[in-house]
């Protein structure tokens, strides 16, 4: 992230200009998609594409405004960010997502649990994983077996509850 704003004078904020570019992309996609829609406005005169078009134009205007504010350096000061913990948590969420239907709820969720704890400073992954597996399994038992929530089962769950 840009560190150029600490001297107090106002300079272009490049990261914020990226935000403006993102808004241009979203607004552009909305206009492009709404152009494809059939004009089925019927008696109201407002078809399925009308509101997306209005929102898309609004986003483009906001992009211009954002670019202007970024150029003048009007965005609030940002705190320095540590990237490693963010990567750990994102990896944990991705791991859970990909393993959920293969390994079952407890094992997949234990990954998320362990990586998140790691991101917040618990460095011993083996311990984190062990705690995560036990905790996630207890949660699985309570919510799927007692409270009838449908949670994916894997090898671990089937070991204790063969019918799951």
């Amino acid at each position: 992230m840009s560190a150029s704003r600490h001297e107090g004078e106002r300079r272009p904020d490049w990261a914020a200009l990226l935000v403006a570019a993102f808004l241009v992309v979203v607004g552009g996609v909305m206009l492009w998609d709404s152009a494809r829609l059939a004009d089925l406005g019927g008696y109201s005169g407002i078809g399925p594409g009308t509101i997306p078009r209005v929102v898309g134009v609004g986003l483009l205007l906001l992009a211009v405004w954002t670019a202007f504010a970024a150029w003048r350096g009007d965005f609030p000061e940002r705190e320095p960010q540590q990237i490693a913990p963010v990567v750990w948590i994102v990896a944990g969420l991705a791991g859970q997502m990909l393993l959920l239907h293969v390994a079952g709820f407890s094992l997949a969720t234990a990954i998320l649990f362990a990586f998140t704890a790691r991101a917040f400073g618990k460095r011993n992954l083996a311990v984190n994983l062990a705690v995560g597996i036990i905790f996630a399994f207890l949660v699985w038992v309570v919510f799927s077996q007692l409270l009838m929530l449908h949670l994916p089962a894997g090898p671990l769950e089937r070991l204790f509850f063969p019918g799951a």
């Binding site: 990261a15 979203v26 909305m30 998609d33 709404s34 089925l40 019927g42 008696y43 109201s44 005169g45 407002i46 078809g47 399925p48 509101i51 997306p52 929102v55 986003l59 906001l62 405004w65 954002t66 965005f75 940002r78 705190e79 960010q81 540590q82 913990p85 963010v86 750990w88 948590i89 994102v90 944990g92 969420l93 997502m97 990909l98 959920l100 239907h101 709820f105 969720t109 998320l112 649990f113 362990a114 998140t116 704890a117 991101a119 917040f120 400073g121 618990k122 984190n128 705690v131 995560g132 905790f135 996630a136 949660v139 919510f143 409270l147 009838m148 929530l149 449908h150 949670l151 994916p152």
Partner: protein, 505 residues
């Protein structure tokens, strides 16, 4: 007064110890499932309804009422303590409630939410019992154009209340409106912005966005600050209980929230969340401490929580008097009622008074049990915040994903959760407010549909919006709310407002 006799009979019958136990069990189960972020009252009731089948009719009715109130209330606990609203109606609660919890005032925040819910539930249930037939006649006057005007009013009050920077607030709102366009257009069945992906055809779930933006975005932002005492959360400072001034500042918002939430819940198109938006804006306007809003103002918890619960009772008005389920939760309740042989409709109060009054008695008792269960638990809940950060956030993410998985165990849904979580984190870095994006997603489709329906009925004549007195009044209020601050800003050269916008989270 036949009604009162019936009510007293119902209450007397329901005060049997066994029935009270069933009510307690129902409230406990409902709270346990409803507390999960992403699982709202509708799913809670649907999941737990089979549990009630095993009991005799009186027992199952009262347990059912308990599950309903437990599910409604459960969301506010996680909103306040962990900043992870369980459903759309408790998003506003998170705004002030979590700020309070971080300053060591989690106890009073939970207490005002619990007592506010109780007060609102009590008043609203009594209103339901005695005024339902009249309220419903008023609610039916709300057609598409009146509802559209209501949505516009909600938009204006919410964006006026939530943004410190007009640019960033509007950007957040418009991103929400853009998300709202995804999926099948309700009025024509056309797929919008779904790029051939079937999972996108139903659009973005509000709960997915809310859980991702609040819970995951927050966890990422806090992790990225690194270790250090800078943002230490104070678990408890001062009393866990509400002080005299907390009471003094809470009781009026409770009442105002109740009287805002109840009629909005009774309207066919009004969701519980709209009442919470309006209540928050009202409290901010009326408060003697407007500067505390955004930093943990107790009124901002008391009012919306009361509105939320009152509107839950409000949805029972069209349900019982017309057989009209106006929300997913109400549709499930309808299924539940039929289980007890209660056929809601215009003749219900006349043909089956005993059952109606025992239902209402059950609701009152369940409401009371909720208070009994939750007040003693507040001390325990608050202790949650003393759990060391690594375990606390690992647990928060576990429960946040558990809710999403339980509602819909799809990899795609979890992928959206992750993507929105990262966006929520980036928005926090750049100082964009989170609430408007969620508000845009909730209100966007409602406003669009109501406008198009109104214009369709008038065959394209926009003047129809002003020809209804109710709609015209609401649109005028909305216009004033938008214009007056602008005028003030221009006259005061924006100094005051700019100072107020200084410390955005």
């Amino acid at each position: 007064m036949g009604s009162i006799d019936f009510l007293m009979q119902g209450l007397a019958a329901a005060s049997d110890p066994m029935l009270l136990l069933y009510a307690l069990i129902g409230v406990t189960l409902g709270t346990a499932v409803g507390v999960l972020p992403g699982i709202g009252p509708a799913l809670t009731v649907a999941l737990l309804l089979p549990v009630t089948y095993r009991l005799d009719p009186a027992g199952s009715l009262i347990m059912f009422a308990g599950i309903y109130y437990g599910g409604m209330y459960g969301g506010s606990t996680t909103s306040i303590l962990l900043n992870t609203p369980g459903e759309s109606a408790s998003i506003i609660t998170a705004l002030e409630g979590n700020k309070m919890a971080r300053r060591g005032r989690g106890g009073p925040a939970l207490a005002t939410a619990a007592i506010g819910s109780f007060v609102a539930g009590l008043i609203a249930t009594l209103l339901l019992a005695f005024l339902a037939p009249y309220v419903v006649q008023l609610a039916l006057k709300m057609g598409p154009r009146e509802n559209f005007a209501l949505m516009v009013l909600a938009f204006v009050t919410v964006s006026a209340a939530l943004g410190d920077s007009a640019l960033r607030g509007l950007t957040s709102l418009f991103l929400g409106l853009a998300l709202a366009c995804i999926g099948i257009d309700q009025l024509t069945g056309q797929a919008r912005l779904s790029f051939g992906v079937p999972e996108l055809l139903d659009g973005v779930e509000v709960t997915t966005l809310a859980v991702a933006m609040f819970a995951i975005g927050e966890a990422l932002a806090i992790a990225a600050k690194g270790p250090g005492p800078a943002d230490e959360v104070t678990a408890v400072k001062g009393s866990v209980w509400m002080s005299r001034s907390d009471w003094a500042r809470s009781w009026k918002p409770w009442l105002r929230g109740t009287f805002l939430g109840f009629p909005i819940g009774a309207m066919p198109a009004g969701g519980a969340e709209i009442g919470t938006f309006l209540s928050y804006a009202t409290e901010k306007k009326l408060s003697k401490h407007p500067e505390e809003f955004g930093n943990g103002a107790i009124e901002g918890v008391a009012g919306p929580e009361a509105a939320n619960n009152a509107s839950a009772a409000g949805t029972l008005v069209p349900l019982l008097t017309l057989g009209l389920p106006t929300s997913a939760t109400a549709a499930i309740m309808l299924a539940g009622f039929q289980q007890f042989g209660l056929q809601p409709g215009p003749l219900l109060f006349a043909t089956n008074p005993t059952l109606v009054w025992s239902l209402i008695a059950s609701l009152l008792i369940a409401n009371f049990m909720l208070l009994v269960l939750n007040l003693p638990l507040i001390g325990l809940w608050v202790k949650l915040l003393t759990v060391p950060k690594p375990w606390l956030y690992a647990g928060i993410l576990l429960f946040a994903t558990l809710g999403t998985i339980g509602a819909n165990p799809s990899v795609f849904e979890l992928g959206m959760l992750l993507a929105f979580g990262v966006i929520g984190y980036l928005m926090r870095i750049f100082g964009y407010p989170i609430a408007p994006i969620v508000v845009g997603l909730i209100l966007g489709p409602l406003a669009e549909q109501q406008l198009r329906r109104a214009l369709s009925i008038s065959q394209g004549d926009p003047m129809t919006l002003l020809q209804s007195p109710i709609a015209a009044v609401m649109l005028t209020i909305a216009a004033l709310a938008l214009i007056v601050p602008l005028v003030l800003r221009l006259r005061g050269r924006g100094e005051v407002l700019r100072q107020m916008g200084g410390d955005e989270d």
